[in-house]
Each structure stands twice: as C-alpha cells, then as structure tokens.
C-alpha cells in the first residue's frame, strides 16, 4: 500500500506540474488582461496536434518542436490580441464579455479541429530507451520524467522572467495596478499583446507535454483542460502566476493519490471537493490577494 501511495504521489507531482503550466498560462492572461480565456484548452490541444504534425511532416521530435510551437503560438497570440482580445480587455466588463466570446471561440476551434483532424484520438510516436526507470518498487515511465524535467525548466524560466526581468516586473505591475502602468511609459497595448502571446505560447508547449505524458489526445478534450486550468487558478489564487504552480501540484497530488484508492471518476470528484474546500476556507485561493484594479 505504501509503495502504491508513493507511486501516486510521484504521479501527482508529474501531472500536477503539467496542470500548473495550464494554470500559469491561463492566470497570466487573466491577471494582465482580465480576459477569461475559455478557449485555452483548445489551444493546448492545438499544441499537441502541432507536435504530432511537426513529427509526421518535419521529423521533429516533440522536444525540438517545443521552441517552434512556442514561437508560432506566441505570434498567433500577439496577432489575436489585436483582432479580438483588445476589445474584450477594454470593455466595461472584460470578465463576462470574454467568457462568452472565448467560449464561442472554444466551440469554433473544437469544430475546426474535428473537421481538420477528424474525431480519432491520436498519440505521439515518442518513446525513450529505457522506457521505464525503477526507483525501489516505484516504476516511472521515462517520458513522464522527461515531461517533469521540461515542466520544471519552463516554470523556472517563466518565474525568472516574471520576477527577475524588467518586462516581467512590468507584467506583474499590470496585474497589481493596470491604470498606473502607463504612467511609467509602458505601452500597455504592446505589453498586453505580448502577454497574450506568452500565454498561448505556453499553452502550445503544455499541449506537447500533454501529448507526451497522457496516452492520447483528440479535438474533444480541450474543455477538460480549460476546466482543469480554472480549478488550478482558483486553488492558487486568481491572477497570481506562481500561485497556479501550487494549485496545480495540489490538484495533481489530490487526483493521483486518490486514484490509488478509488476509481478515476471518484478521484476527479475528490479534486473538486478539494476545490470547494479551498473556496469555502480561503475564497481568494492559496496565494490570492485583493486586487487594486
């Protein structure tokens, strides 16, 4: 039993870090723009398809596809900001307006993926040698370990960007006080567009990690990831980028350790119970603070 629990904990950290990445990218977008990106899961699935076709057409391994997908999705996000998001962010009620519009975009993207890629679930042809590593009685697939390492590196790089660079500090400053950022000479539009680009770039990378770690992906699973993303950011604190890391790991640990004892459905249910408990005890989330906006 102890070994099973330990296995569940290790799986929880691996899956939790993937969930954290979903939450961090969603949270950066929400924190800076107050836009509820309900289409985030679809962009994650698009990232997975991106890796699939980069492998099929260009022979790129998922790891090598990551920088390419990040740049392509980043540029797509930058452009999409000016086409769609800018109006939403400037509306009187950006949260509600964006929730509706992005939900529509989510349906459109899901339908387009279904048309383009068909309904069959796909998986990446990606294995490592050896396929498993044994730590005592704990068995770990090497792809999961690699995914864990990539998630740690990406999260670390994002934390470095947000906390150690001037553009990252400016981005956090927007989350703290959106009205004041223009006073210091920051081009709010440009930085907002970069933020949306960063969020979608991270969604693309997360899609590749998802396709490496989970058995398959299809056009139908986007909204599942969006839902997980929102659970994670509510747990960690709305608008708090690094809070989402704690939220993701917590949710992953709860879900994966529960799977040791219960069925997958019950384990998911326990994740939601955890969410409700956090909302009841600490409504702003683990790291949430009152926003000055």
């Amino acid at each position: 039993m102890n070994e099973l629990l330990l296995q569940g904990l290790v799986n929880g950290i691996v899956v939790g870090l993937i969930y954290a990445l979903i939450g961090v990218s969603l949270n950066v977008i929400f924190g800076v723009l107050r836009v509820v990106n309900f289409a985030h899961g679809e962009f994650i699935v698009l990232g997975a398809y991106g890796a699939y076709f980069a492998q099929a057409w260009l022979g790129l391994s998922p790891l090598l596809a990551m920088p390419l997908i990040f740049v392509v999705f980043g540029m797509m996000g930058y452009g999409l900001y000016f086409v769609l998001v800018k109006r939403l962010a400037r509306s009187n009620d950006p949260e509600h307006a964006s929730l509706l519009v992005m939900f529509g975009l989510s349906l459109v993207l899901g339908a387009l993926m279904l048309l383009a890629f068909e309904a069959d679930a796909r998986s990446l042809n990606f294995t490592l040698d050896p396929p498993f590593l044994m730590f005592g009685n704990i068995i770990l697939p090497t792809t999961k370990l690699l995914g864990l390492a990539v998630a740690v590196v990406v999260t670390g790089a994002l934390a470095f960007f947000l906390y150690r660079t001037l553009p990252g500090k400016a981005l956090r400053a927007i989350i703290m006080n959106r009205d004041a950022i223009q006073i210091v000479g920051v081009d709010l539009n440009h930085l907002s567009a970069l933020t949306f680009g960063l969020g979608l770039g991270l969604a693309g990378i997360t899609g590749i990690l998802v396709s490496m770690i989970f058995p398959s992906f299809s056009p139908f699973i986007g909204q599942d990831y969006t839902l997980i993303g929102f659970i994670v950011i509510v747990l960690g604190g709305l608008g708090h980028p690094i809070g989402a890391v704690a939220g993701g790991i917590l949710f992953g640990l709860a879900e994966q350790t529960a799977m040791v004892f219960f069925s997958g459905t019950v384990a998911m249910l326990l994740g939601f119970v955890l969410l409700i408990a956090v909302i009841l005890i600490r409504p702003a989330g683990l790291f949430g603070v009152q926003n000055s906006r």
Partner: protein, 247 residues
C-alpha cells in the same frame, strides 16, 4: 531639471463622446515655475492633467511641449517625451519593492543600465528614506512614504514637465509640508510643474501662476501677485475658496 514650456490651447474633452468635461480650456506652464490649478469640485482640474498626460483624448485644441505638438501622442509616448504624472489615486505597485518601483520608472531608458544606476542613485540621494527601504514592498509602507515613492518614480526620468494631482490628499500634515517644499524646490531647479490641489492656501503659496477652473472652463488666471493685488481676483478666490491670497 530642464523644464520646457507646456501650453494647452482651446482644449475640449468629452467622456463617452458627448459628456463634455473640458470646454476650450487654455493653460501655459513655464519652466522654473509652479503652475497651480484650483477650483471647486467637478471643475475639471484632474481632467486637465489627465488630458495633458494623454489618458483622455481631446475633441478640439492642441497641446504643445517645448513648441512641439504632442496632442496626438499616446500616454506612454508622452512619458517618453518627458512628461511625468503623479495621479491622485495610489499608483505605487504594492507588490513590488521600492527599488523595483523605481526601476519601472526607468522604463523609457530601460536598455541603458548605467543611466538606470545613476538615476536611482540620484533618487536615493534625494530621498534617503527610500534608500533605507529599497527592498521593502511598496504596499507595506505608510501612505506618505508611498506618495514620496510615487513622486520619486516620476522624477527618476528627469522629466521636462511634472504633473501633480492632489499630491497631499490623505497625507499627514508634516509630510504634506515636505511635499510642498519639494515641489517648490523642483521648480526652483528649473522644472515645469503643474499642480492641482484642493488646498488653495498651500497651492496659492507655492504657485507662481494660478488658473481657476469652473465647470470645465477657464474662469480666471494670473500670477500669484495678480491674485494678491487685483481686487476682483482676490474677491473671487475669497468667495469660492474661502481664502484670501496675500503676497
């Protein structure tokens, strides 16, 4: 400080396109002077500053700075041109340290590390309390200290024009006195300062030129001496603001 002349001519501003809040307002602020704007609540004083900084767009008129038309520049572009704004509401970034707040103030020359270092050292020399608290989160400081940080951040770029909107609102009297002394000192060093203040006594005391606004229009203007000697102007201020300006 190397201030430049800033002028507004015939400026009209409307919210949502049809609620006119400024009507053909004109103003001229000179280097080395504090230009005070006073008037009753709702006169449009803060709106004038927001318009000069580019946070509100104009329906008519022109704003020039050092002879250059800046009417169509966006707020961040005006900041890059050398306009600094300290708004009435809290504008320090509460979750960032004092140092990081000042660092963000250096955004217009963010690629010049040597200049950033020089600028922040200069600020620490002028505001020793900020040096002491350089690693403290801005949000954990007192209201007065946060106000000094906001003013310091506005000065870090060595701006040509400084806009101060009610800098002493909700601030303890002792710190308010220091803020007025600093304002006067900056003007004496050559800065162009436009000050909006509800405190008519203090505003009139440190301003070289005063503008009175009423319902979004220019009501009266003149030097401090004009307001102290011209019976009509003196009466106007005494009647509206319950204060008599003396030389």
């Amino acid at each position: 400080m190397h201030g430049v002349e800033l002028s507004m001519e015939n400026i009209s501003v409307a919210y949502n396109g049809d609620i006119t809040v400024l009507k053909e307002v004109a103003l001229r602020a000179k280097p080395g002077e504090v230009t005070g704007i006073i008037g009753p609540n709702g006169a449009g004083k803060s709106t004038v500053l927001k318009t000069i900084f580019g946070l509100l767009s104009t329906k008519t008129g022109a704003i020039t700075m050092g002879g250059r038309d800046i009417t169509n520049l966006k707020a961040f572009q005006r900041a890059l041109e050398g306009v600094s704004f300290v708004p009435q509401n809290r504008s320090a970034f509460a979750g960032l340290s004092v140092y990081d707040n000042l660092l963000l103030g250096c955004w217009p020359f963010r690629k010049d590390k040597a200049r950033i270092e020089r600028a922040i050292d200069g600020i620490f020399e002028r505001f020793p309390i900020l040096k002491e608290k350089r690693s403290t989160l801005a949000g954990s400081m007192s209201g007065g200290q946060q106000r000094f940080l906001e003013i310091a951040r506005a000065l870090v770029t060595e701006p040509k024009v400084i806009l101060l909107d009610e800098p002493t609102a909700m601030i303890a009297p002792k710190i308010s006195k220091d803020i007025y002394a600093l304002t006067r000192d900056l003007a004496d060093q050559g800065a162009t300062i436009i000050l909006v203040d509800q405190n008519v006594r203090q505003c009139a005391t440190i301003s070289d030129r005063l503008y009175i606004l009423e319902l979004g229009r220019n009501k009266a203007e003149g030097t401090r001496e004009d307001f102290a000697t011209d019976g009509q102007l003196k009466e106007m201020v005494a009647e509206w603001m319950n204060y008599k300006i003396d030389v």
